[in-house]
Symmetry: C2
């Protein structure tokens, strides 16, 4: 596939990706739905009349909304038709949008847009599905013998988060004030959190028809409710969390702000990057079982950029380290009858890899403050400092290169000889999820 929009092989938004987002620009402050292609945004509100397929021809109004909820509600067959239409319209072989006058009307450079939350998030849920993360935290707080609690391998542990405080990448986050207990057994104190942390996560948006209260979506059917994925930073005040969280879970330590990347990468775009689900022992209950792949090779990185302007990559993890799949998370969310709606957001929990340089939070990377991280500007961190910017990236993956090398060794050798691979490789990226930590209010 080749688009008339030009971009390099390094581009995160080729015609094979086509993530959805909501944007505005100075020339038009109205929030509109767009698709990222190369360094441009295709304004779907300007071309909604071109969705002429059998499913969307009388649903074009969904592209005139200020968020993606109505489009998300249509379900996978409509999402596939939209993707096919967009790939056709953006193809070098199609001239519907290539005329310079048309291009000026329907494309906006990404550098000129302001991105907004892509959906009205009805409810936000955060899971705890990375086995390395759960084990690390367990070792730190309960010791090696009791690292994983008894329920952890039987169900995807999760909790309801705060949807109002989910914000789009770029929104500054203020260091919270709250109660903490610096000395065990003494009285709590009130003041700015001293242990501010990031959590490297990936979240999915729910799509399809709303379900009814009392209804369960089985894991084997849950794929039809997964629209697409974003990067997430679940900012966490560790000292506040530790004092408040018994017995009902995290609250003020988390609802201070949760950042997501603006572009939703669809399940269809991630299809080529599927990898085997993590083996599960014990075998989960039937409602949690599914035979299809729902795990993804998404390389994840976190940078800390200090006020000096120097950025240091502090961890390299991967979505594939998830123990519980999104389909299992969604099934468990609905097993007791909880109804879900398009636009709901369900997050992975911190994604940590096996090795100490792949952990997904400062808490783990610096092992409860005992191993400071050296940054490139000469400073070091145990937790975040004021004015630090945290940048999460979903790293680009060269699909053809990867697939050929590891799965079709003979073919790749042939293709390499033909000089085919590099020219035809493409990458799918998430863009980034950024946020700067502001000092606490006085």
């Amino acid at each position: 596939m080749k688009s008339f929009i030009e971009y390099s092989n390094e581009c995160e938004f080729p015609i094979e990706n086509l993530p959805y987002g909501v944007f505005s620009n100075d020339a038009n402050r109205k929030k509109r739905i767009g698709v990222a292609i190369g360094d441009q945004v295709l304004d779907l509100s300007a071309i909604s009349n071109l969705f002429e397929g059998s499913l969307l021809s009388d649903k074009q109004h969904v592209f005139q909304q200020e968020n993606l909820n109505d489009f998300m509600a249509l379900g996978r067959p409509s999402w596939l038709e939209a993707r096919q239409t967009l790939q056709k319209l953006l193809s070098v072989e199609n001239d519907a949008l290539q005329n310079p006058d048309v291009r000026r009307k329907v494309f906006v450079p990404q550098e000129d847009v302001t991105m907004h939350l892509p959906a009205k998030i009805g409810d936000y849920t955060d899971f705890y599905s990375s086995i390395h993360h759960a084990t690390n935290v367990g070792i730190m707080f309960r010791g090696k013998e009791n690292a994983l609690l008894p329920n952890w391998k039987h169900l995807p542990v999760g909790y309801h988060g705060r949807s109002s405080s989910v914000v789009v990448s770029g929104t500054p986050i203020r260091r919270p004030k709250g109660q903490t207990l610096p000395v065990e057994g003494a009285d709590p104190v009130f003041g700015p959190s001293r242990l501010m942390d990031f959590e490297l996560e990936v979240a999915f948006f729910v799509g399809g028809s709303p379900t009814k209260l009392g209804e369960t979506v089985l894991a084997s059917e849950a794929g039809s409710h997964i629209f697409g994925f974003v990067l997430m930073n679940d900012w966490s005040a560790r000292d506040i969390q530790k004092w408040e969280y018994v017995p009902l879970g995290p609250f003020g330590a988390k609802n201070l702000g949760t950042s997501i990347s603006p572009w939703i990468v669809t399940m269809e775009a991630l299809e080529p990057f599927k990898v085997p689900n993590m083996p599960q022992d014990p075998k989960p209950f039937p409602y949690l079982q599914h035979s299809n792949l729902c795990n993804f090779d998404i390389k994840l990185e976190v940078d800390i950029k200090t006020p000096t302007g120097v950025a240091t990559t502090v961890t390299r993890s991967n979505y594939k380290y998830m123990y519980w799949t999104p389909q299992q998370q969604l099934a468990h969310h609905t097993v007791t009858g909880c109804n879900i709606n398009p636009g709901d957001l369900m997050a992975s929990g911190t994604i940590s890899g096996e090795s100490a340089d792949s952990f997904g939070s400062m808490l783990e990377l610096c092992w409860k403050g005992t191993k400071p991280i050296a940054l490139k500007d000469g400073s070091s961190r145990k937790f975040l400092q004021d004015h630090d910017e945290v940048i999460i990236r979903g790293k680009r993956i060269n699909f053809l290169f990867k697939k050929m090398f590891f799965k079709r060794k003979k073919l790749i050798i042939k293709m390499l000889l033909l000089g085919y691979c590099q020219g035809n490789g493409y990458k799918v990226g998430f863009g980034s999820c950024k946020g700067k930590l502001l000092p606490a209010n006085h």
Copy 2:
């Protein structure tokens, strides 16, 4: 005050109450905002042009909405003006609505309406603010010595709930299926919950302008964000909760459904029933301090009505047993910077009194299943059975009677001699919060 709408002294919806709700009827399926008066609903969408005060004359559109969110957003001065306008319009001395033709257009009998959720609930939070409830649960699960966890008297413990599964009174609730651990140390099993419970709660709707992320509302200022109150049944699957809730709190055991009464009783209507806040030791941090009264004498009752049709009142509690006030809950919710929006719902947690017949859940009333309750139809309960209907009432309070007897002893004796009290007493009620437990799905 006297209305031209006739009702008895026992009526829960006199002119002094005027709770807001959202209704429809067979003749007009559109959801409209209404006010309960006597056994009627005054349709505010039909009289929005009569809100001619300085604050509302250009905001009449808020009464044309399908929910109360826009009205809630206006803030207390506008709520007061609306109340004054309604009391004037409904007064026996005002003939604007008394003409029979007008009455037919603007009033609908309560028995003919379907009630809906009064607001679009952005986020729902459940606190845990009754000291007797927290102590009871603590004794059952941790023993008398450690009944209250160390943080409990320092902050109003709470957790984020699921807003999608909040439903209006009358909606049936299905017994959930889920994982439980019947035998400690053995493997979990999957099936219908065996320990279904109610939780007697009262919740308030947030009003006023949305706050910004990073902003804190102090307890002393929080009253301006409290619109009004409803009764709540926080249905709970105790066996599922016990297995799932470590370490991140309740999840599937609660998101199976949460019922609220349809009529929002405003802060203004509750003003006469204010009682002293519960004494707090230790003294809370300044952000949690407020000097005004924000505790209410609201008598609460729960009936269980079995399939025989016989109802038994299983508990009599009172809102006044709350340790933390709504203003303190709201302040703690925002202390780390969490933004709140009109239409958010914040619940009290189970409200238990001191004595064993005033506990707010079956878990406590039957003390973990060890003391079954005898019902009037000859059956007994440790937890809820299929087809049981749970009915929560906010019991009517005779204001004049109460106020006179306890606060103005001399005056009341004089008034009693004049036969004044009974004729002029009035009651403010919440109506009821009902829900029937359906059997689990096969």
